[in-house]
Symmetry: C2
Subunit: 286 residues, 2 copies
Amino acid sequence: MKVYYECAPCFLRQAKEALDLATKDESVKIEIMEEIVKIVGSEFNKEAVSNEVGTKIHRTIKDKTGNDDPYIIEKQKGNEIAFKFLPQIKEIIKADNRLESYVKAAIVGNIIDFGALGVNYDIENGIINNMKRDIALNHVDKLENTLKSANNVLYLADNNGEIVFDKLLIEKLKEYDVEVTVALKEKPILNDATVEDAVNIGLDEVAELVSTGTDSIGIIYGDISEEFREIFNNADMVISKGLGNYEGLTSMELGNKPVFVLLNVKCDPIAKDIGVNYLDNVVLKL
Amino acid sequence: MKVYYECAPCFLRQAKEALDLATKDESVKIEIMEEIVKIVGSEFNKEAVSNEVGTKIHRTIKDKTGNDDPYIIEKQKGNEIAFKFLPQIKEIIKADNRLESYVKAAIVGNIIDFGALGVNYDIENGIINNMKRDIALNHVDKLENTLKSANNVLYLADNNGEIVFDKLLIEKLKEYDVEVTVALKEKPILNDATVEDAVNIGLDEVAELVSTGTDSIGIIYGDISEEFREIFNNADMVISKGLGNYEGLTSMELGNKPVFVLLNVKCDPIAKDIGVNYLDNVVLKL
């Protein structure tokens, strides 16, 4: 996705939040902020890809503060929230046992996101309210049909916490007789889940886990490892979670590979790009 | 005031809000945002003066959109809110008729500010709650003593709406047998009051009105007219309203001129700079 004008203030809001999490030293913060405004000043133009700019910002913060996981506490909170709601979510989806309910749970998991919604968003209310809402743009039927003819699925994970609900969907996917490979970040960035985070919540029990080989926010084709590029190219279909992966995938050449994005629309640019409303839940075949 | 790291995201948040008010054309918005991130990228460093950077941003938005008063509706709303609360405020301050109560009313007027607090802040609740609160940093005694020996007062106005409450304080100041001159903006910028705005609410009935000769956010010594510079230099004392003027005055050489800043602390950088808390009310002798 190309940047929208609203992305510029959001980059700096998120940079401020990440800086606040990464260090308490004000003199370090202003030095890094100087560097970040220069990055945004030189990178932000209407041809720029949003998750590529975001990746540069968050790498700069990690690199310059020496804090390689600023969101570590937020990621733990994400898990706590997910496990707290897991019994309720399980009850809801097992009542009808439909693929759509599992998909919705995975999307609702995408609300556990401190990066996009800001650290003050009321996530707990968001989870419950969103399980009750319809999916605004719903290609679940296409997803199900594609699953039926696929042998393997590449699942691009997004945030920690969220992966607890992804696990439910992935177990369901396996009823369609597919091999599922889940891609996670090589190193921490924002509140994204790493391979280690996934092992911690037992995702390795239900799928093969692979690293994207990098710490980019969402997928960046030029950034991922050669090994992961091969996995991506060989996947029969892709299920992608969250904004960063949407931003990256819509800037890639996908050929005729079926790619489904599952996300909660946590900003106006994504809403405009997809053609839905802010905070809508979406299952979109790209 | 030199910029703090938090100023960078705030500049772009405010730029986005001003752009949203100035034009509906998204292609214009991203073009101007590109220019603004370049301005911030080149101007933002720890020696930069905050209201000078803000002035460049808002001038760019006016210039490039061709909209010379993006906040015109917000300014009208500011007046509406002020006049709605005027009877209540008058009742409170006339109950004890102390200078401090008039000063507090003028500070509470400073809450009617869409630029600093964002367009979604609940201003109406802010007004009532703040009239009940003590002034956190209170140099009203020094202000009163200085008034007693002064012949003329230069009053640096801030926002539209707010000036309705300034009028109450200015009438009170005249009991100290001083001539009051109120400085307003030459042209619109943000929701700042212009000479025309001041005449509209009858401020000319209680004071001489002058223009700063420019549209800077707060006072910028190098930017004001020769005529206004003379008025500033000849003033026995200065009463300054709001953040922008605080930011400008603290970056100027004031000699031994008594300068009092009256403001509600609408951001963390100002809170840190003064040494008080966010949203505190302040009467500070610089």
